[in-house]
C-alpha cells in the first residue's frame, strides 16, 4: 500500500546538538538519524559538529570519529571499509550509497545521514533486511543442474558465456538499489526489488545453469517483476556502478520473446 507519510511512531523529532569542543576552525555539521529501541521515544536527528582537520576523507571516517570521540552509542553496520562487503549501506545526502566509499568532500554544506529508506529500524542507522534476504532465497541463488551421475565433473563455461555475467556477478547485495526504489517502498512484501531481480537475472543468464525456463517462469509475475516502472533510482544509487534496471529490462525482454 502506498503510504506517503511516515507512521506516527516514526515521525522524526529534533535531537541533541553536540557542540565542538576542539576549537577547530574547520567544522562540518553532521545530522544523523538516531533511534534507540530501549526508550519508547520517536526517532530523532542529532547534530554533531565534527573537526574536519583531524578526520579521514570518507563518510565512514566521520561516523567512526563521532562514535570514538563524541557519542559511543552511535550504531551502524560496517565491516571491510573498502566497498566490498556492503555492510555500511545507508542514505547519505539523500542517495543510498556505501559510507566507506563516499567522500565527504563531495558534499557541500551539512551532511545528512539516514538509514536505508523504508525499512524497520533496528537501531540508529541499522535497518532490518530480513524480507530482502527471504526474497533472495526465493530465487534459489545457486547453480541448478540435472542429476546425470557426472556431478563430480566440472561444468565448463566458455569465455564468451562467462562475459555475459559481467555487470551482474559483482553485486554485493548491499540493498542500496532495492531501498531506493519507490516501487519497492510501496510493494516491498511482494515485488522482488532491483537487487533480487538482478541476482535472478545473473542465474538465468548463467550458461551452466539447467533451470533457466523454470527460473523465468517463477519470476514472471505481475507483482514480483512487473512492478518495475523503470524509475531508475536503483541504477542511480548502485555504489558498484551496476545497472539493475537493465537486468530487469532484460528479464522482461526474455519473457516477451520466449
Amino acid at each position: 500500500m502506498v503510504q506517503l507519510n511516515l507512521p506516527q511512531n516514526s515521525k522524526i523529532e529534533v535531537g541533541k546538538y553536540y557542540k565542538d569542543k576542539t576549537n577547530s576552525k574547520n567544522l562540518k555539521k553532521v545530522n544523523v538519524y538516531r533511534w534507540d529501541p530501549s526508550t519508547k521515544q520517536n526517532p530523532r536527528v542529532d547534530t554533531f559538529e565534527v573537526d574536519m582537520d583531524n578526520c579521514g576523507p570518507k563518510v565512514l571516517d566521520i561516523l567512526f570519529k563521532i562514535k570514538n570521540e563524541i557519542d559511543p552509542s552511535l550504531t551502524f553496520r560496517r565491516s571491510c571499509a573498502h566497498g566490498v562487503c556492503g555492510s555500511c549501506a545507508m542514505n547519505i545526502d539523500g542517495v543510498n550509497t556505501l559510507a566507506c566509499i563516499k567522500s565527504h568532500t563531495d558534499i557541500h554544506g551539512d551532511l545528512n545521514v539516514y538509514p536505508l529508506p523504508h525499512l524497520k529500524v533496528v537501531k540508529d542507522l541499522i535497518g532490518d533486511l530480513t524480507t530482502l534476504y527471504k526474497q533472495y532465497e526465493s530465487i534459489k541463488p545457486w547453480l541448478q543442474t540435472e542429476q546425470t551421475g557426472k556431478e563430480k565433473e566440472e561444468i565448463k563455461q566458455s569465455q564468451k558465456d562467462r562475459e555475459k555475467l559481467d555487470g551482474y556477478y559483482e553485486c554485493i547485495l548491499c540493498a542500496c538499489c532495492s531501498t531506493s526504489c519507490p516501487s519497492y517502498w510501496w510493494n516491498g512484501d511482494k515485488y522482488l526489488g532491483p537487487a533480487v531481480l538482478l541476482q535472478a537475472y545473473r542465474w538465468i543468464n548463467d550458461s551452466r545453469d539447467g533451470d533457466k525456463e523454470e527460473r523465468l517462469k517463477k519470476v514472471a509475475d505481475e507483482l514480483k517483476l512487473y512492478r518495475c516502472h523503470t524509475i531508475m533510482n536503483c541504477t542511480n544509487s548502485c555504489p558498484k556502478g551496476l545497472n539493475p534496471a537493465k537486468a530487469i529490462g532484460s528479464i522482461k525482454k526474455m519473457l516477451a520473446t520466449s
Binding site: 523504508h118 533496528v122 532490518d128 517502498w185 523503470t230 533510482n233 529490462g249 516477451a256
Partner: protein, 128 residues
C-alpha cells in the same frame, strides 16, 4: 524482528529526486491527466452536436484565459507523454538503460515536449 514498535526509516521525505524519478512520476501524473482530458474532449465534441448554443459555451470557455491555459497545458501533457513513452518503448526493446543515455533521453523528452507545445500553438495560430 519481534518488536512491532520499530519505526519505519524515512523514504520520500529524505530521498533526493533524480531526473529519472522526476520524469517517471510526471509521466504517471500526465497519463492520468490525459485520460481525464480525452474524456472531457469527447463530451465537448458530443455537446457540439446540440447546436450553436452549446458551441458558444465551449467557445467562450476556450477564449477565456483559463480555457487557453487548459488547451495549451493539454498540448504539453500529450507531447510529454508521447515522447516519454518512446523512451519506454526503447527500454522494452532493451536499449537506453545506460545511465548517461537515459539521462540524455530524459532531458530530450522534456525539452522536446515544450518544443512540441510551441509548435502546436503556432500551428493553431495559423502561423505556418
Amino acid at each position: 524482528m519481534e518488536e512491532k514498535n520499530n519505526p519505519l526509516s524515512p523514504h520520500l521525505q529524505i530521498y533526493r529526486w533524480q531526473i529519472s524519478s522526476l520524469l517517471s512520476i510526471t509521466h504517471r501524473i500526465v497519463g492520468v491527466v490525459n485520460i481525464l482530458a480525452i474524456t472531457i474532449i469527447c463530451f465537448w465534441s458530443l455537446s457540439l452536436l446540440l447546436g450553436a448554443e452549446s458551441y458558444l459555451i465551449i467557445n467562450n470557455f476556450l477564449q477565456s484565459f483559463f480555457g487557453k491555459f487548459v488547451a495549451v497545458g493539454l498540448c504539453w501533457t500529450f507531447s510529454f507523454h508521447i515522447l516519454n513513452e518512446l523512451r519506454h518503448l526503447f527500454w522494452d526493446l532493451g536499449y537506453g538503460f545506460d545511465l548517461k543515455i537515459s539521462k540524455i533521453t530524459g532531458v530530450l523528452a522534456l525539452l522536446g515536449s515544450f518544443v512540441f507545445t510551441i509548435l502546436f500553438y503556432l500551428i493553431g495560430k495559423n502561423i505556418f
